[in-house]
């Protein structure tokens, strides 16, 4: 168990390329986050919890689907930590598991409307499915 957690942590750090130790805990990422109210765990908490190995709550949290990858946190972080990349990596460790796609093709028809651009479907699939 310990081992699996540690492996996951390393995987998250590897695929994101983020070094959470650079964080100086100023909270500017969460100050800047447009999805703050929708999230249970916020960008700075992702950074802190990945660093401390507290992955389970993050992996189970809906917060990983609420990040818009708008990169405001990345842009404004004074230390170059790039929290959005870390959140994406956490999400990927979930949806890369077998059968763990968050968005399935079958869900789509119900959500379609006349005007939906292809871009939206493509983006959502990329973000929520493997």
């Amino acid at each position: 168990m310990e081992n699996k957690n540690e492996r996951r942590r390393e995987e998250i750090l590897r695929i994101s390329g983020v070094n959470p130790r650079k964080c100086m805990k100023c909270g500017k990422c969460s100050a800047t986050c447009p999805s703050y109210d929708e999230m249970e765990y916020h960008p700075h908490e992702f950074v802190y919890m990945v660093e401390s190995g507290e992955l389970a709550p993050l992996l189970e949290s809906k917060s990983i689907y609420k990040c818009l990858t708008c990169f405001a946190c990345v842009e404004r972080c004074p230390r170059g930590v790039e929290p959005a990349k870390l959140i994406e990596a956490v999400r990927l460790t979930v949806i890369r598991e077998k059968g763990a796609n968050h968005l399935k093709a079958d869900d789509i028809p119900a959500k379609l409307d006349e005007e939906i651009p292809q871009q939206l479907l493509m983006s959502a699939f990329r973000k929520y499915s493997k």
Partner: protein
């Protein structure tokens, strides 16, 4: 061939306990060049020294080796002894047979054997020693202080107080620097002008001090004790010696739309101006970029109203050449540009200001006569948000912010917050911080008073974005303790901008061959032990040009720099260390390798003519070392591919002889 005397010290039993000193003296007797060998209880005692002096005379010694304690202990002693007996002090070598032999080895046999080898190495070296005479250079008894802020002012006053003439070069039309722009000073809250302007007057009235205002240093040559400096005095189009500072011209000038830099552009001044009421020198200056007369030749109002006849539209830049013994750099700082931090909307709203602008907004001599009013509409702000660390501790991007902590922001922000709450109790004041750093006498107490007595809201977290909406500034921020994202409708946002060294510092460092760190702060000769000296001899550092500092620190460093300058100027002649590098021009390639590794800028090049064996002449570029500047590290000797560069006292062949002596078994 040298005539060498060897003197082996017992140091009581300190040496004699584990080294057979008699055997050492006996063994060294037969080394090449040795004509005399003796041992004695305490060589460093008066009797021991007398014994050495007598031997030098009796045996006509040309060099001596003392086998004793560490040279760090008594090398100077024995050099004096030798000099007293008429021997060049640099013909003395010490074999360290105490700290590096008797004290660490238990066994008499191996201790003795090693002591003999160390003695042989010292003898081998002395055989190659040559008498050295320290170079002497005169000292020009005048100091130059570059920068006329509080650091430069304090340094100049202290040097002048000791009786030495000092020149201050200041780029602005007046001295005073940043401190003149401040309102109150932490943690005592005394008014900056009240404590600074008397000092400015002292400077003006001090007969030893000359002020070159509106001037800059354009060239520096020479070395410690002997700097030749060229100062450019920019044309101010007003004769300084005639202008009385009455200020009539500054009221009548028709060009009213010049941004007033003293108030950071928050109001306007005229094209002819005196920066502020207590300016020193109190003379007017014409801003050539805006003056209609200078630009078009039509106007001349100031000349008409000046009863003293001080206006001179024909004035030209003047160049002054002066000699100095010491140079003090006091170029200070500036807040960084907020252009790259527009998430705080500095460029999008007039009501987002920097802390220095806030100082002017609360200063009685400022654009609002000391009333805290919003720059956009002149209304009194009811909610003020202070943001700390804007651009400080910022590692993300080099062209954006600074990696270091600017040190002064925590305290001045606490001051601003406290003063605002004191004067306007109806205002809500928020301070967003990452850490509050208040090391300093009565500093933390000050910050706590802001929180506890004045009710300033300190919130751990950073502001993410400031959005100007209507006449409000919507501030979106983190409250990390409460775990909330805050949204505050503010009337005024104040940014604690990071500070950086003045832009002029880099060019100056090049002229002075003084080193700088990656942030363009001047480097000190030693971070702990020589904090006010540059590694370049004769160049001293005062104030924030060396690193972020508050006023008390700046003033103490300014005084320390002054005392170092005084110590230098007190000397009539500088006696150098003769163990300096020396270039053999016959072998020098002129390749510049040595110059590039020299931390002191001691090496220069010139083209010299050499007569060749075939009677032709050849011109070659060759290096020469200024012995007054060289500190004798030897970096150049290894960088030199041809071996033309050598170090007196530690010559290649001397060290090689030591190696040979040690390895000859």
């Amino acid at each position: 061939m040298q005539r060498i005397g060897v003197f082996v010290c017992h140091c009581g039993t300190n040496i004699a306990g584990t080294v057979d000193v008699v055997a050492v003296a006996e063994a060294l007797k037969n080394e090449p060049g040795v004509v005399h060998s003796a041992e004695y209880q305490y060589m460093c005692s008066q009797a021991g020294q007398d014994l050495i002096k007598a031997a030098i005379k009796e045996h006509n010694l040309s060099g001596i080796v003392v086998c004793s304690c560490s040279p760090r202990m008594h090398e100077a002693t024995f050099r004096k002894t030798a000099a007293a007996a008429g021997l060049n002090p640099y013909m003395v070598e010490i074999a360290n047979i105490r700290e590096q032999c008797s004290w660490i080895h238990k066994d008499m046999a191996s201790g003795t054997e090693k002591a003999i080898i160390l003695g042989k190495a010292a003898i081998a070296k002395v055989n190659l020693n040559t008498p050295l005479t320290p170079g002497e250079s005169p000292v020009t008894k005048r100091a130059l202080v570059i920068g006329g802020g509080i650091a430069g002012i304090q340094t100049a006053l202290d040097i002048a107080d000791a009786g030495f003439p000092v020149d201050i070069v200041e780029t602005k039309p007046t001295i005073g620097g940043k401190m003149a722009q401040l309102d109150k000073t932490f943690p005592t809250l005394d008014c900056a002008a009240c404590i600074l302007t008397p000092k400015m007057v002292d400077v003006a009235q001090n007969e030893k001090i000359r002020i070159f205002s509106y001037s800059e240093v354009v060239d520096v040559r020479g070395f410690v004790g002997n700097f030749d400096v060229t100062i450019k005095k920019r044309a101010r189009y007003v004769k300084e010696d005639i202008c009385t500072g009455c200020g009539l011209c500054t009221e009548k000038c028709p060009q009213k739309k010049v941004p007033n830099e003293f108030n950071l552009g928050m109001d306007n001044r005229r094209a002819i101006y005196i920066p502020f009421a207590q300016a020193v020198p109190k003379v007017a200056t014409i801003d050539a970029d805006y003056c209609t007369m200078l630009k078009t030749g039509k106007c001349g109002v100031c000349a008409k109203v000046c009863t003293a006849g001080a206006i001179d539209y024909e004035a030209k830049d003047e160049f002054i050449e002066e000699k100095y013994g010491a140079v003090v750099v006091a170029t200070g700082f500036n807040p960084i540009s907020m252009d790259k931090f527009d998430e705080f909307a500095y460029n999008q709203s007039k009501d987002v200001i920097t802390s220095l602008e806030f100082e002017r907004l609360t200063n009685a001599a400022g654009p609002t006569a000391g009333k805290l009013l919003r720059p956009s509409d002149g209304e009194h702000p009811h909610t003020i948000v202070f943001v700390q660390c804007v651009g400080s501790r910022c590692e993300a991007c080099a062209e954006k912010g600074k990696e270091y902590c600017s040190k002064i922001c925590c305290m001045y922000t606490a001051k601003h917050a406290m003063l605002t709450r004191d004067k306007y109790p109806d205002t809500d004041v928020y301070v967003f911080y990452i850490d509050v750093r208040t090391p300093g006498k009565a500093f933390d107490e000050f910050y706590r008073r802001a929180v506890e007595e004045y009710g300033v809201h300190y919130i751990k977290g950073m502001v993410g974005k400031v959005s100007p909406e209507g006449n409000k500034l919507k501030v979106q921020a983190s409250d990390l303790i409460a775990g909330k994202q805050l949204h505050i409708d503010a009337d005024l946002v104040v940014l604690a901008a990071a500070i950086e060294p003045d832009k002029s510092a880099r060019g100056l460092a090049t002229m002075l061959t003084a080193s700088m760190d990656t942030n363009d702060f001047f480097t000190e000769a030693h971070p702990k032990l020589r904090p006010v000296e540059s590694p370049t001899a004769g160049v001293f550092l005062s104030g924030t040009c060396q690193g972020p500092k508050d006023i008390p620190e700046t003033v103490s460093q300014a005084g320390a720099a002054a005392s170092k300058v005084i110590g230098l100027l007190c000397k009539d002649k500088l006696t150098g260390n003769p163990c300096v590098a020396q270039s053999d021009e016959m072998m020098c390639n002129g390749c510049s390798s040595c110059e590039r590794v020299c931390p002191y800028g001691a090496i220069t090049y010139s083209d010299k003519e050499f007569r060749m064996p075939d009677r032709t002449t050849k011109i070659r570029r060759v290096a020469s070392v200024n012995p007054a500047v060289c500190q004798g590290c030897g970096a150049c000797t290894v960088a030199c591919p041809s071996g033309a560069m050598d170090l007196n006292g530690f010559k290649n062949n001397q060290i090689m002889a030591e190696v040979d002596a040690i390895c000859k078994m």
